[in-house]
């Protein structure tokens, strides 16, 4: 049904200028700056205590900004109360009003804005159709499942066509399958309405699935901002590498740098080739970490090692353990210098069986590995 398509709201450009929040002497959000484009799906991703929710609460107006400012469409909203900022909001615990039915919950922002009754009816109806809850208008929250309650919260946040919708871990309370389904739905609604979404989550898969760009937060600061695939392949430091999925990090010393590639020397004396990021300068003798994703590593049995053509780099090791994870098999391999690397192998038919204790060879393409500053 495309008839219920609503007009894309104009604007929705958010700018955070050195936003800071202090609790006592601790800076829980420390000079965070970001520019979020109109219609962008922007995620704040980080572990608990990283300051992502506090940042969102400062954008929403629920937490005072100690330093810096929040601008929306060239307007400084830093000191406006939440109800004047005009954002839609979705909370982790849904916050459905228990004394109002679904219709009145969704109508709430419209009634608060004193819209005429006829318009309220049309808009609530359209919003409920959008989240496929039009048959549940007279239900109360206690009669709805978690997923349905979340849909009510989403309908309520978009019904007044806000330029910006803020979402604070909206899928945190749902089980895994439902969460994925809701991710797709939220993304579809956001695309269709063309609204800006600022989305807080600690689930990296969720962030990568939905976001146009992700800001990885840690200790009150943004560690890295970028498109999901780019950050995944090119983390700027070890924290980002670890947080955005599984990561192999092997410590060593820069041996030499030659154009886009460099050599890292391990304690064992082995040399590993990897890309060097153009943005960072490296000096020989500097401590660094060798980074590669587990799925970019390939296990080859010792015998066929020399014959393997597409992989350019190799390390020998011994399989410590093998985990069956359904779609993949995860092998922990002890490489020569006592470092353990994780290798993910797709659960495809016809693979050679690997067991703990096997001597194997790990291979990869040098462009899949990166040096990170230690």
């Amino acid at each position: 049904m495309t008839s219920d398509r609503q007009a894309a709201p104009a604007g929705g450009r958010i700018e955070l200028r050195s936003v800071t929040k202090r609790y006592g002497r601790e800076r829980v959000v420390d000079a965070v700056s970001a520019l979020i484009q109109p219609g962008e799906f922007f995620s704040l991703l980080g572990p608990s205590g990283s300051g992502k929710t506090t940042t969102l609460m400062m954008i929403a107006g629920f937490a005072d900004i100690d330093e810096g400012s929040v601008w929306v469409d060239a307007q400084d909203l830093s000191s406006s109360p939440p109800q004047r900022r005009g954002f839609g909001m979705v909370f982790q615990n849904y916050a459905i009003f228990p004394h109002l039915d679904v219709f009145e919950n969704v109508a709430f922002p419209l009634r608060a804005r004193r819209l005429p009754e006829a318009e309220i009816r049309t808009r609530v109806q359209a919003a409920l159709e959008l989240v496929r809850l039009d048959r549940f208008a007279d239900r109360f929250s206690r009669q709805l499942s978690g997923g349905q309650q979340q849909r009510v919260a989403i309908a309520r946040a978009i019904v007044f066509q806000p330029r910006v919708v803020l979402m604070d871990e909206p899928l945190g309370a749902l089980d895994k399958n439902l969460r994925y389904q809701m991710q797709v739905e939220i993304k579809q609604i956001q695309r269709r309405l063309g609204m800006t979404v600022v989305y807080v989550t600690h689930d990296q898969e969720e962030a990568m699935n939905m976001s146009d760009r992700i800001a990885i937060m840690n200790n009150g600061r943004i560690e890295q901002v970028g498109e999901p695939a780019f950050i995944y392949e090119n983390p700027s430091n070890e924290f980002v590498a670890r947080f955005l999925g599984e990561a192999n990090l092997v410590k060593g010393v820069v041996d030499s740098v030659d154009g886009p590639f460099g050599l890292l020397r391990l304690a064992s004396g082995q040399r590993l080739r990897a890309r060097v990021a153009a943005s960072s300068a490296w000096q020989a003798g500097e401590a660094a970490s060798f980074f590669i994703r587990p799925e970019r590593l390939v296990l080859i049995s010792d015998a066929q090692a020399p014959a393997h053509e597409t992989q350019t780099e190799q390390l020998r090791g011994k399989v410590l353990r093998t985990s069956f994870l359904g779609n993949i098999l995860r092998h922990d391999v002890e490489v020569d210098d006592a470092a353990v690397m994780t290798v993910d192998e797709p659960n495809a038919s016809g693979r050679a069986p690997v067991a703990a204790g096997d001597r194997v060879c790990i291979a990869w393409r040098s462009q899949d590995a990166v040096f990170l500053k230690a």
């Binding site: 929403a60 107006g61 909001m89 615990n93 228990p98 709430f108 608060a112």
Partner: protein, 281 residues
């Protein structure tokens, strides 16, 4: 078999309380009603007695007065308690403890002591009149004591904790994220209160009002000590019938009327609190 089951499921745990209730309260009450009412003879005589007592001017006046005072007290208690409970529900630490202390401590003090304290304040030569006179605001002492106002003030003071604690419990069970959601969705503070907070605290308002009203209609000491000649409440009338006029049948009928009203209100109260449980609030 039955006693074995009682031991097994723990019913005996409530046996002492049950015995006390039956022997000390229900038993004497039933006995009192039965003896005084049966002594009237047959049903027609009993009906005549009930009609006579209930339609007598003293009883109707006292019933109206009782409910009027109970209503005034309930409204006054509600108006004072709501902001107080709101304050408590949104504070913690020392501020909360201090307010709670101020509400609970009088609650543990005897009603008579508290009533006499008010009489000291409101009397003809009481603290209030003395202060106002010395300030030169009045020349003649105000008639504060032995008025309906005095009764209401005294009863409000005694009944306040019931309302405050009921409202506090109701307010504490309101999820604060709901108010935040309402503000985030564009509602100003007053709209949030009117549309979200107050409706969610309403079951506490109803429960508290019913409990205060129920307690108020049975009040005896405060109106007896602080009221004027026209401030006769139903409990006082019952006491007079038993102690002074020795009209036990009349007292029995009046008591039954009071009991019936109380039970009817309690039934409503029970429904309200039951609904609250259903709401899961």
């Amino acid at each position: 078999m039955a006693s074995k089951r009682a031991v097994a499921d723990g019913s005996w745990l409530i046996a002492p309380a049950l015995a006390l209730l039956v022997l000390g309260f229900i038993g004497p009450m039933v006995l009192f009603f039965a003896r005084t009412l049966i002594s009237q003879g047959g049903l027609p005589e009993l009906a005549a007695l009930v009609t006579k007592v209930v339609t007598s001017e003293a009883v109707t006046t006292a019933l109206i007065k009782t409910q009027w005072i109970a209503l005034l007290v309930t409204l006054a208690v509600l108006l004072i308690s709501y902001p107080l409970a709101y304050y408590m529900a949104n504070r913690s630490g020392l501020k909360f403890t201090l307010v709670l202390f101020c509400i609970i401590v009088p609650y543990f003090t005897s009603i008579i002591v508290r009533t006499y304290a008010w009489m000291v304040l409101l009397g003809r030569n009481g603290l209030i009149n003395q202060t106002l006179t010395s300030l030169g605001w009045i020349t003649e002492p105000l008639e504060l004591l032995y008025t309906e106002t005095a009764v209401v003030i005294g009863m409000v003071y005694v009944l306040l904790p019931y309302m405050v604690l009921t409202l506090y419990a109701a307010m504490k069970s309101i999820d604060p994220s709901l108010m935040r959601a309402a503000r985030g969705l564009g509602a100003g503070p007053f709209y949030v209160f009117r549309r979200v907070y107050f409706p969610l605290s309403l079951h506490g308002v109803i429960s508290g009002s019913l409990i205060v009203f129920i307690l108020a209609i049975g009040f005896f000491i405060t109106p007896a000590l602080m009221g004027g000649p026209s401030d006769v409440m139903i409990a006082m009338l019952i006491e007079r019938a038993v102690e002074i006029t020795l009209d036990w049948p009349g007292a029995a009928v009046m008591s039954l009327v009071l009991l019936a009203v109380t039970l009817a209100l309690y039934a409503v109260y029970y429904r309200v609190t039951d609904v609250r449980r259903m709401m899961g609030a």
